[in-house]
Amino acid sequence: MSEGDLAIRDVNLEHFSAHAEREPTKIVARLRGNADQLVRDELQRIISELHTEATRLGVREAVLDVRDLYFMNSSCLSVIVRWITGQMKCAIESYRIRFTCNANLRWQKRSLQAMATLGGALVVID
């Protein structure tokens, strides 16, 4: 695989989709729809591939754009938590995790506040 290729497979389900793109210093994964129990395994895969690619390419940030994600249940939140805590345990300084939010979606304010508290300087909320 060349450095320009991004090995993060899209998700296109009835009520959830995900697509990732590489930008100069970051990888942006856009999540849309409803993240519930039905998509937990797909979300886990996306996050795992995002981590692998962010590490391989040495980007500064991995961005989750959740502006069109209307809900996330606690099972899917736990996937994000494992990602954050896994990065916190890394001995080598790696990439930051950034969330791009939608202030009109109320779940994001409280749930992502919890992620930011958990992750400290590793996590940035826009």
Binding site: D36, F71, N73, S74, V81, G86, R106, R110, A114, L118
Partner: protein, 162 residues
């Protein structure tokens, strides 16, 4: 809210689609009735998490779901109840989790502890009830009915805006 009480009850098998549909109904209905989208979201999130738990840990398929909003002199009391048959080992764990939440001086501190714990869990996230307490700012109770069904209730109270 023009009426004194709003009551929504249903019995259904809580698959993922049914849970998300119920969450949206609770959000729309309670946001409208309480004229407060934030309260509507908190109730909707709690409905989703309680029904998810019933789906994961229930012994039989059907759950009874109830949303009740009562107008009071001071404001409103909104209560969600999910009732179902469960396994004995799950019941002991549920009682233990609810006791821990009820005795927590700071629900957010407990939620952060639950977030850290979930990183090392293989079975479920263990986050749902702590999320209801912290993000939803709701009170949790659990009881066993005469029919041996387990009932989990999440309640929030709001005073009237001056």
């Amino acid at each position: 809210m023009n009426a004194d009480t709003l009551l929504l009850e249903s019995s259904f098998v809580p698959d993922a689609k049914g849970i998300s549909t119920t969450r949206r109904i609770v959000d729309d209905l309670s946001s409208h009735v309480l004229d407060d989208p934030d309260l509507g979201w908190r109730l909707a999130m709690a409905a989703h998490e309680l029904l998810d738990n019933a789906r994961k840990y229930g012994r039989e398929g059907t759950v009874r779901f109830r949303l009740k909003i009562d107008a009071t002199k001071e404001g409103y009391i909104a209560m969600l109840r999910v009732e179902n048959r469960d396994h004995a080992e799950n019941r002991a764990n549920l009682l233990s989790v609810v006791r821990e939440i009820q005795s927590a001086a700071d629900p957010w501190a407990l939620y952060l502890t639950a977030l850290q714990r979930t990183a090392s869990r293989d079975d479920g996230s263990g986050l749902g009830l702590a999320r209801i307490s912290a993000e939803g700012e709701m009170t949790l109770t659990v009881s066993v009915g005469d029919d041996e069904n387990i009932r989990v209730e999440a309640t929030l109270e709001r005073g009237r805006t001056p």
